[in-house]
């Protein structure tokens, strides 16, 4: 007979082994590589101390990518949050057809990102893409262009792709949290004469607080680490206009083969996310106590 304690350990062992070998070990090894000049095609790896980090401090594309990563993450998560709330509000109304709407709206979240990128690349084509057909139909002939190839529009267009994929997920998640709020709270507030805005601010928002914290935490991490939207849509172009850190790391590693340098940028990403994670957990914990 195995003891209860050991049973628990045995149950989680397979998951821990897989994650140990393919997540935690690679993480440590990745950080170690960041301090070497490892090259994919060259033999002989040497420890070079902080040389990679010194190099990236003066690497202009690193700073552009860092800036764009932060802007992209901040804008995308904020907009997703707001639009998700609006969507959840609409879906919480008991109206004919709403359950049908709820059942199809998350479709954009389940399809492969590569397919999402193709949908939008196709619609952004000059002359034959749906976006340009509509714009021309409205009489703005001179705006006809390849939207992902435009220096100013490319990054906002990437943000749009993120919104397209994730807003329904936010909406559905917030809706689930809203429905867990007891209806009696709202009735009591109504009797006390609270208006719609007050009810939203004092009942709905606190009610979905936990869900909101989880959604924002996860999506900041996922968006900042997201590689495929930018890489598949533009590869970082035109002229670095959409470069973000994950894509820059990927290019350094698998196009230039400089694994050591790529790993050092990846390590910086990890540090930034750890700082965010710790600060955010601290802040949301403090809110919990009060």
């Amino acid at each position: 007979m195995i003891l209860r304690k050991q049973q628990g350990i045995l149950l989680i062992l397979p998951a821990l082994i897989v994650m140990g070998v393919f997540t935690f070990y690679p993480l440590l090894e990745g950080i170690r590589i960041a301090f070497t000049n490892k090259h994919l095609l060259k033999e002989g790896t040497e420890f070079v101390g902080l040389q990679n980090f010194a190099r990236l401090a003066s690497d202009e594309i690193f700073w552009i990518s860092l800036y764009q990563s932060i802007v992209l993450t901040a804008v995308v998560v904020c907009l997703q949050f707001v639009f998700g709330l609006i969507l959840a509000w609409a879906m919480s109304q008991e109206l004919p057809g709403m359950s049908w709407f709820k059942s199809i709206i998350m479709a954009s979240w389940v399809i492969p990102v590569a397919a999402t990128v193709i949908l939008f690349k196709f619609m952004a084509q000059p002359d034959v893409g749906l976006i340009n057909i509509i714009i021309k139909g409205l009489g703005f002939e001179n705006l006809n262009r390849y939207w992902l190839g435009d220096l100013k529009v490319a990054l906002p267009f990437i943000m749009l792709l993120h919104l397209w994929r994730n807003v329904p997920f936010y909406g559905i998640a917030f809706l689930a949290a809203m429905q867990a709020i007891p209806g009696s709270y709202y009735e009591a507030a109504e009797i006390d004469g609270a208006n719609a805005w007050h009810r939203f601010w004092h009942i709905t928002l606190p009610g979905i607080r936990n869900m909101a914290i989880v959604m924002v935490t996860i999506h900041v991490l996922w968006t900042f680490n997201n590689f495929d939207f930018v890489y598949l849509a533009t590869g970082g172009g035109p002229v670095n206009a959409t470069d973000v850190l994950p894509v820059y790391v990927y290019r350094q590693c698998w196009s230039s083969y400089t694994l050591g340098y790529g790993a050092s940028i990846g390590t910086i990403m990890l540090l930034l996310l750890m700082v965010y994670f710790i600060v955010f957990i601290k802040i949301s914990d403090r809110g919990n106590i009060s």
Binding site: A15, S108, I118, W164, N210, M211, V214, G266
Partner: protein
């Protein structure tokens, strides 16, 4: 009087949101399905409503019989199935252990699992490539599977733990007193009661694996393991893009995910958010 008028206002606003959402979220998918049945020259006319004779099945015929797409589709299917099964075995056992047993450093383990979400995958993949290379698993199905497992395991465990936490402990306890061992309890109690959550976890793993580009692009080296996702990307970044065929290939790649989605759609929310709604 004013109350019913306010209700009408709310309904109009809500339907407005629904209408805009349908256009924004659903129309792009309908558009690519529509265009996948048009000839290349029909698409290039830039006309929205094409005349009937411009519709064709040629794009699908070409993708399915002239190109290697079916091979890649089958690879995707094989890889995603193995990933889901392995992820389910590991995460059901793991979530059950974390949900029901006293384990030393349990909180640290849970935090550790959650914190993997902040590890940059582009950093992990550098050593992962070297590990897979030294295990001689480059360009093998298992190599891709192990790489993708780390994408799905943490979230899957976290989600299932939340789901299992919501199943009353009493049922579990009384079965233990009746003499059921740990595997019997897992098999006869947690699996049936947790089935909706398990379905969602399996669905999540399948969809993530099916849609993965990063890991396949590194570990796959040839036709043996290249997936549909990889190939539609290649088709759509060719110098001369045949949009009709790209659209057909993209639709074929989307279809399995949508079919599975239609099965779990009712449970999806419940399952995905179980970890966050507890209190």
């Amino acid at each position: 009087m004013t109350k019913s008028r306010r209700k009408i206002g709310v309904a109009i606003a809500a339907y407005g949101v629904v209408f805009i959402s349908l256009i924004f979220f659903i129309l792009p998918m309908l558009w690519i399905i529509y265009c996948s049945f048009r000839t290349q020259s029909s698409i290039f006319t830039g006309v929205v409503l094409a005349p009937l004779h411009e519709f064709t099945l040629e794009n699908y015929k070409t993708i399915l019989s002239v190109t290697d797409y079916p091979t890649y589709f089958f690879n995707s299917f094989k890889i995603a199935t193995v990933v889901s099964l392995l992820a389910l075995v590991c995460s059901i056992a793991g979530a059950y252990g974390l949900s029901r047993f006293k384990i030393r450093w349990k909180n640290a383990i849970i935090l550790g699992i959650f914190s993997t979400q902040m590890f940059p995958q582009v950093l992990l993949i550098i050593p992962m490539y070297l590990i897979v290379f030294s295990l001689q698993m480059l360009d093998t199905v298992m190599g891709v599977v192990f790489g993708q497992l780390i994408l799905v395991l943490p979230f899957s465990i976290w989600m299932l733990k939340g789901y299992f936490d919501n199943i009353p402990v009493d049922i579990d306890d009384s079965a233990r007193i009746d003499g059921c061992n740990v595997f019997q309890r897992l098999w006869y109690i947690m699996l049936p009661l947790g089935a909706p959550g398990i379905m969602v976890a399996g669905f999540f793993s399948f969809v993530v694996s099916w849609g993965d580009y990063l890991i396949v692009s590194i570990i796959s080296q040839s036709q043996r393991t290249a997936t549909a996702t990889l190939v539609i990307q290649r088709l759509s970044s060719a110098l001369l893009i045949r949009w009709g065929q790209v659209a057909a290939a993209a639709v074929l790649t989307i279809v399995p995910t949508i079919i599975l989605f239609s099965f779990v759609q009712k449970r999806l929310v419940e399952g995905l958010t179980a970890g966050a709604i507890k209190e």
